[in-house]
């Protein structure tokens, strides 16, 4: 049955919260009301990635790319496009607000430099329908593994592909699997790390929401390869939609004989279970995750032994990240040779990033390894919001470091990011501009680590709180230059002596900003000044008596209120009572409020 039009509505969490669901139901309703129910198929897909402009609706075959769609627009989309075959120009993506020139999908800069392997099906298929995954080479990799390959063949294929772990450390995937094959024991396990704890990262969430079968397929291939019959997907409880899609996918795969007993008649059996995390960042660390899977407090245990040798319930266990698995399915379908052509010599394939912060087009992007940060930020991301100056980019979240403007032309690889004092991490990419303060950001990340330290080892438990206390002092203007040396010293001790990499890398955001922006720390200390105006204790608001026309707007906005003055005469802020909320600064239309 062929339809005249296919309408794809983004069903990722971002758009979903922006009423995508209502758009979806209204479209259905309108199609019925306008009598074209049989001409159009309306599908909810995974994330298109362009979250900044969501909710997104795409109409085929015209490839009309509609942005910021509202439920009220559904009627017009059906009436114009489905009934009359005309695009709704008003909703098409435009390069900027000033022009009415619309841009064709293939010309949208946001997508031009992207290369989608992991996200190949996101925004293309209906993730709740296994047939659509199968129609796009889905489960052919599993078939190939089961019927055309021995476990060693799969290992060879992965080795030739050059795939490395996408959860952060970049360990070669084939080697991890091979070590597990060679580990002694009859019972082995496959685990998927979908804990995605880095605050500000949602690549794994979108991958699962948009293409859950690619994870199931790869885990089954892994099970076959290492001789495991049971797998667990450990996923954050904060991701209800992803969990739901996984449940549906598991049910459908079982119905199709692609999961469960005697898969496709091969004699091989594999079962999968979903387990929920409960809001502990440390549970993203593999040994802690396995403890949590066993129903315990998620505290890391010393390595070695590595999970490959002694993992879940002390059995050999492969634990990989969501994105790593998503790559395995493509590699097995398209072959290692195809994959190895993408990327750089040592970092093969692509990497997804959640591009957020002070960027124009925030969203989910996927680029070949070796793409530069400049391309991601300026070409794909559309540059910094409000034309401000870039201060730096944080990759690797609370474990990573800041990369400054001078290094933007470095091609992104595992090695280059480490050399820059940061790390690949799982894919959070947070853009900061001149209005962000390095002391404030470091304090923010350190507070996160204090909250998330499991408390098992002293360097991390005590070190993170000490560093946080010092950063807090500096942000309040009471720090000393000696404190900077202390920060470095404690940081080094933590890096060296912590049991796991939570503590082992908690100092990174601080030490990297200390390296690149020491003068800003010194300004806080010596001049009691925060140039970004973020450290509230150091900011002073004052009204310039010359510029002030006495309109009284600021006084009305002030929540304390602590601004006084006669009408049409210069107003004055009572600094002793000012809570530094900045409302007056934002309110004044004459630029009379100064922030120092």
């Amino acid at each position: 049955m062929a339809y005249k039009n296919y309408i794809l509505v983004c069903g990722g969490t971002g758009c979903e919260s922006a009423k995508a669901n209502e758009i979806f139901t209204t479209l259905h309703h309108e199609a019925e009301a306008q009598g074209v129910k049989n001409d159009v198929q309306i599908v909810k897909t995974g994330c298109f990635g362009f979250c900044e402009k969501g909710p997104i609706v795409k109409v085929l075959p015209q490839e009309s790319f509609y942005v910021e769609v509202r439920p009220e627009d559904a009627k017009e989309i059906i009436a114009e496009q489905v009934v009359k075959g005309r695009e709704v120009k008003r909703l098409l993506y435009k390069k900027n607000a000033k022009t009415s020139d619309t841009v064709k999908l293939e010309d949208i800069e946001f997508y031009q430099k992207q290369f989608r392997i992991v996200l190949r099906n996101c925004g293309v298929i209906n993730p709740e329908n296994i047939d659509e995954y199968i129609a796009r080479e889905g489960y052919t990799g599993l078939e190939r593994a089961l019927f055309a390959m021995k476990p060693e063949g799969v290992i060879q294929e992965l080795k030739a592909s050059g795939l490395r772990g996408r959860g952060g450390a970049g360990f070669p995937t084939w080697l991890k699997w091979d070590l597990t094959i060679k580990a002694k024991g009859d019972t082995k396990y496959v685990v998927c790390n979908a804990d995605e704890g880095d605050p500000g990262a949602y690549m794994n969430r979108s991958t699962i929401e948009g293409d859950p079968h690619s994870i199931l397929e790869a885990m089954t291939i892994c099970g076959y390869t290492i001789g495991a019959h049971k797998g667990y997907i450990y996923i954050r409880a904060e991701y209800p939609l992803a969990i739901e899609r996984l449940k549906i996918a598991i049910k459908q795969a079982k119905e199709y004989g692609l999961l469960g007993d005697d898969i496709l008649g091969s004699g091989y059996s594999f079962d999968l279970e979903i387990r929920l995390g409960a809001g502990a960042f440390v549970c993203g660390e593999e040994t802690a995750l396995l403890q949590s899977l066993e129903g315990k407090r998620g505290m890391p245990v010393p390595k070695p032994p590595f999970p490959a040798v002694s993992g879940l319930w002390k059995k050999p266990t492969v634990i990989n990240n969501v994105e790593t698995y998503a790559n395995v399915s493509v590699i097995m379908a398209k072959g290692a040779e195809w994959f190895a052509k993408i990327g750089t010599e040592k970092s093969k394939g692509t990497k997804t990033f959640a591009l957020t912060g002070k960027i124009n087009n925030s969203g989910l992007v996927e680029v070949p390894m070796g793409t530069t940060l400049r391309e991601i930020i300026y070409d794909i991301g559309g540059g910094i919001r409000g034309g401000k100056a870039l201060k730096g980019v944080q990759t690797g979240g609370p474990s990573g470091g800041i990369i400054t403007a001078e290094s933007l032309d470095q091609p992104i690889t595992y090695e280059s990011l480490s050399a820059l004092g940061s790390m690949m991490g799982s894919g959070g990419m947070i853009v900061m501009d001149e209005d962000d303060c390095v002391v404030d950001i470091s304090k923010f990340y350190m507070a996160f680590c204090v909250d998330e330290s499991c408390g098992k080892c002293a360097p991390c438990r005590i070190g993170t709180s000490q560093m946080h206390a010092i950063l807090d002092k500096i942000s309040k203007g009471t720090g000393t230059e000696d404190d900077l040396l202390k920060l470095e010293k404690i940081g080094k001790a933590m890096t060296k002596a912590s049991l796991c990499l939570l503590g082992g890398s908690a100092a990174n955001p601080t030490s990297s900003t200390l390296r690149h922006f020491r003068e800003e720390y010194l300004e806080h200390i010596r001049d009691h000044k925060c140039r970004a105006g973020k450290c509230k204790d150091l900011v002073v608001y004052e009204i310039d008596p010359v510029k002030c026309i006495g309109c009284g707007l600021c006084a009305r906005k002030c929540p304390v209120p602590c601004i006084a003055g006669e009408k049409k005469k210069a107003h004055v802020i009572d600094k002793a009572r000012c809570v530094k909320c900045g409302e007056c600064f934002k309110a004044c239309k004459f630029g009379a409020v100064n922030k120092k």
Partner: protein, 158 residues
């Protein structure tokens, strides 16, 4: 003296019966209990302890380790303000402060009428819409401070 009782729904009891046989399932059962009560009541933890044969101390050890589990009753409408990095950079701290000021709440307190409580959470996974907050299951993106009174007012009626 018989232990104090707490009512478990049929579904919850069935869930526990199904899961208690599986290895490492304590966290899953706690999730299910929290889904039913909105938090983990002491009596529910005690009842779970009896029915799965785990020491209460072990259960509390797990409950208190994970941020997701609450031991006190939250407001009917839980306002979860994201303080993940993306949201923080786009002004989420101001949102938390403002929401607390509007409702006159500190930390994890609940309003006197039991309607609201405010939680700071780390990343809801919609960073593209930062700053983000969630009330019940509804996500609000690109929230401006000035929009808060109106958003909150909507929930006073329900």
């Amino acid at each position: 003296m018989p232990a104090a009782q707490i009512e478990f729904s049929k579904e919850l009891t069935a869930f526990i019966d199904e899961w208690k046989a599986k290895p490492g399932s304590l966290i899953m059962m706690l999730h299910r209990i929290q889904e039913e009560f909105g938090f983990i009541p002491r009596l529910a933890a005690e009842r779970l302890s009896r029915s799965v044969g785990l020491p209460l101390a072990k259960i509390y050890g797990v409950v208190t380790f994970y941020h997701f589990f609450k031991t006190t009753k939250p407001g009917k409408h839980r306002i979860a303000v994201c303080l993940g990095t993306a949201c923080y950079l786009r002004g989420a701290q101001d949102l938390v402060d403002e929401a607390r000021a509007i409702l006159n709440l500190k930390d994890e307190e609940v309003t006197d009428d039991g309607l609201f409580s405010i939680d700071e959470v780390r990343c809801l996974g919609c960073c593209g819409l930062a700053p983000v907050l969630m009330i019940g299951n509804e996500v609000y993106g690109k929230v401006e401070k000035d929009a808060l009174p109106e958003i909150i007012a909507k929930y006073r009626e329900i």
